[in-house]
Symmetry: C2
Subunit: 347 residues, 2 copies
C-alpha cells in the first residue's frame, strides 16, 4: 500500500540535521509558517520537546534521528566512541516527555542492543555510525510498514458514509486509515476538535486531512456531543499516547469526554496505538503531565482575562477500558480486554 503522507508527517519535515544543527519542524506555527526550530545539542532538542515544538508521534522520530545526529557529531569532533556519553545525551530527549512511553521503549531497546557490544569503548566512531544508521534505517522501514498495516486495519473499521470525530493530531495511523478508506471508495467526513490550548486540530489535523483530499470540518472542543446527539457522528477515533495492559487508553485531554459521550450515544470509539505498554499494568501506573496554565490563559503573550486568576492544565486524559470499542495496534484490531495478548515486535 502507498505510504502517502501529508507535509507534517514527511520525515524531513518532522526533523533532520545539517552542519551540526538539528532542525525540528515547528508544529506550533504550522500552517501559518512552514519553519524549523534549530537546536545545537541534545539538551536543546529536549527543551524543544518540552516546549511542544513537535508532539504526538514525532518525538519518536526526533529520538531516532538524534542517534544519527549524536554519532555524526562525535565523528566530527574526532572523538573515540563513548557509549555512556551517547546514552546521557539521548536520555535528555527521552525524559522531556514522560507520557511518551513509545519513544522511551524504543530508545531503551536500541540502547540495550548496543550496550553489551559498545560499552567497553573498543569500537571507534566509524564502526558505530555504520551500525547505528543501519539499525535506525531498519526501524524506520519497519515503522513505515506498520503505519501502512495499521492504516489498513483502521480503514477496515470505517464504513461508507461514516462521519468521524477526532481530537488533536492522531498522526500516521489515523490519517492513513481515512486515506485508505477514501481510496476504497468509502465516503468519509471528518469533524476535528480544535484542541485547545495549542489548536492541534485546527492547525495540524484539519490541514493534513485537507491535503489528503478528505471532507473536513472544524468544531470547538465543546461541540462533539451536539453532533453526536444530532446523528452527525458515527465513529469517534483518536490516537493514544499510551495503552495500558488493562485496555485503558491515555490521550490528549478532551478525549475522555468525547469517549463518554460516544458511549452515551452508542457510537464506537477507536484508539490507535502501535502497541500497549507492558510496564503499565493498569491506568493507575500512568504518570500525568501537567503543563503551564499560562498556555490556557494567554494568547499571543497577552492574558485573555484577568491575570490574577489561575488555571490548571492537565495535558492528558485516561480513558477507561469500558469506554473503548477498538484498539488498532501493529498486530491488528483488539478489544480492550484482549490487549494483554498483543506482543509487539518491540517488546
Amino acid at each position: 500500500m502507498d505510504l502517502k503522507l501529508p507535509y507534517l508527517l514527511k520525515p524531513y519535515n518532522i526533523c533532520h540535521f545539517n552542519d551540526s544543527i538539528f532542525y525540528i519542524g515547528n508544529r506550533k506555527v504550522f500552517p501559518k509558517e512552514k519553519s524549523f526550530y534549530a537546536c545545537s545539542n541534545c539538551k536543546e532538542i529536549a527543551n524543544a520537546l518540552k516546549l511542544m515544538i513537535t508532539q504526538g508521534g514525532a518525538p519518536l522520530q526526533v529520538a531516532l534521528t538524534s542517534f544519527r545526529y549524536i554519532a555524526s557529531e562525535m565523528q566530527k569532533e574526532h572523538i573515540k566512541f563513548n557509549f555512556n556519553n551517547l546514552k546521557k545525551e539521548i536520555m535528555y530527549i527521552v525524559k522531556a516527555r514522560v507520557t511518551n512511553t513509545t519513544m522511551k521503549r524504543c530508545v531503551e531497546k536500541i540502547l540495550k542492543h548496543y550496550e553489551i557490544r559498545f560499552s567497553d569503548s573498543h569500537y571507534d566512531i566509524n564502526t558505530f555510525i555504520k551500525e547505528i544508521n543501519k539499525t535506525i534505517d531498519q526501524i524506520e522501514s519497519d515503522y513505515n510498514k506498520l503505519y501502512c498495516n495499521m492504516g489498513q486495519y483502521g480503514a477496515s473499521l470505517i464504513k461508507d458514509g461514516d462521519k468521524i470525530l477526532t481530537t488533536c493530531f492522531a498522526e500516521h495511523t489515523f490519517l492513513l486509515s481515512i486515506y485508505y478508506a477514501k481510496l476504497a471508495n468509502k465516503k468519509v467526513k471528518v469533524y476535528v476538535n480544535e484542541t485547545r490550548p495549542y489548536f492541534q486540530g485546527i492547525r495540524l489535523t484539519a490541514p493534513s486531512l485537507y491535503e489528503l483530499g478528505i471532507d473536513v470540518k472544524i468544531i470547538s472542543d465543546s461541540m462533539g456531543s451536539f453532533l453526536m446527539q444530532s446523528g452527525e457522528i458515527t465513529h469517534y477515533m483518536s490516537g493514544a499516547d499510551l495503552v495500558c495492559m488493562d485496555g485503558s487508553v491515555v490521550n490528549k485531554i478532551g478525549t475522555n469526554q468525547n469517549a463518554i459521550c460516544a458511549k452515551y450515544y452508542n457510537i464506537p470509539y477507536t484508539a490507535f496505538s502501535m502497541a500497549p505498554d507492558k510496564s503499565k499494568k493498569s491506568y493507575k501506573d500512568v504518570e500525568m503531565e501537567y503543563r503551564d496554565p499560562k498556555e490556557l490563559l494567554m494568547i499571543d503573550n497577552e492574558y485573555i482575562g484577568d491575570k490574577n486568576i489561575s488555571a490548571i492544565y492537565p495535558a492528558f486524559d485516561i480513558i477507561r477500558e469500558d469506554l473503548v470499542t477498538n484498539i488498532v495496534t501493529n498486530k491488528g484490531i483488539f478489544k480492550p480486554n484482549e490487549i494483554k495478548e498483543v506482543v509487539s515486535w518491540m517488546q
Copy 2:
C-alpha cells in the same frame, strides 16, 4: 438578602442611555477594557446583540432599558406617542436573539399590557413615559427579588466543601448562589470552562467570582471530565437560556457534554432558569442558532489555521431531561418532570 453584584451585573454596567445614545457594556472586551458600545437607535442595539456585545441575561435588561430609551427619544422629538412605532423598534431587539425567549416573553407581556390602552394613540408621550417607567421599575425590582430568592435556592443545593464546575456565564442566579453559600460559611471552589470561542468563562465568570471572593480556577472546555474522574468536581451548574416544558434545558454549547459526563460520574447537574417557556412543549420546538464559523477559526482577525478549511458553530446545546438533576426557578427547585407545574409570575 443582600443583592451583591459584581461589576458585570450592575445595571448601569449592563446598559444605560444618556443624551440620545444607548450604551451597552462591552462584554467582548471585558476584563481587558471596561468600555461601552454606543448605539444611536434600536436597530443598532439589535445589531450589538447579534454581535454578542452582551449576552446571557443581559439582553433582557437591554430590552427593558430600551423601553425607557424609546419613550425618552419620542419625548425629545416632541412626537405624539405612537404605540406601533414603539412596538416596531423594540421588536428589532427581540428578534436579534431567537434563543433568548425570556426576553421575548417579557417584552411581549409589556406590549400586551399597553396595547389595549395605548394603541389608539389618544395618550401623549408624557403619560406614556410616566407609565412605562413605573412598569419597568416594578419589573426590575421584581427581578432583583427573584434573583435573591433564586440565589438562596441555589445556595441551598451547595454543600460545604463542594467543588463546582460551570460553563459560560450563568449570571445573577448562579453567582448569587455561590456568594450566598460562601456567606453561609460553606467552603466552595469553582472550576470555570473557558467557553470557546468567546471565552466567557475566562473573561466574565472567573473575574466575577474572583470579585465576589470565591476560590476560582479556569480549565479548558475539554477538561471537565478529567476533574470529574479525579473526584475534583462534586456538582455541575449552569444557566439555561431556556427550559422546555418536558424539562429539557437549552444552554451554551458544551453544557451537554458536561451534563453527560456528570451523569456518568454520578455528579448532580443543576440548571438555573427564571421560568420554563410554556411555548416550548419539548426540546423539538427549540429553534437553534448557528453563528459565523469564522468566530471559531480566527483570533484577532487572523486565521489560526488554513483559511480554506471551514467550521460549524452551533451556539447552543439541548440537554435532555434525563441528564438534569435540578432546575432552579423563581418558584423554587424542581425536578425536570415537575417543571410543567411551575407557573411563573410572568406567564
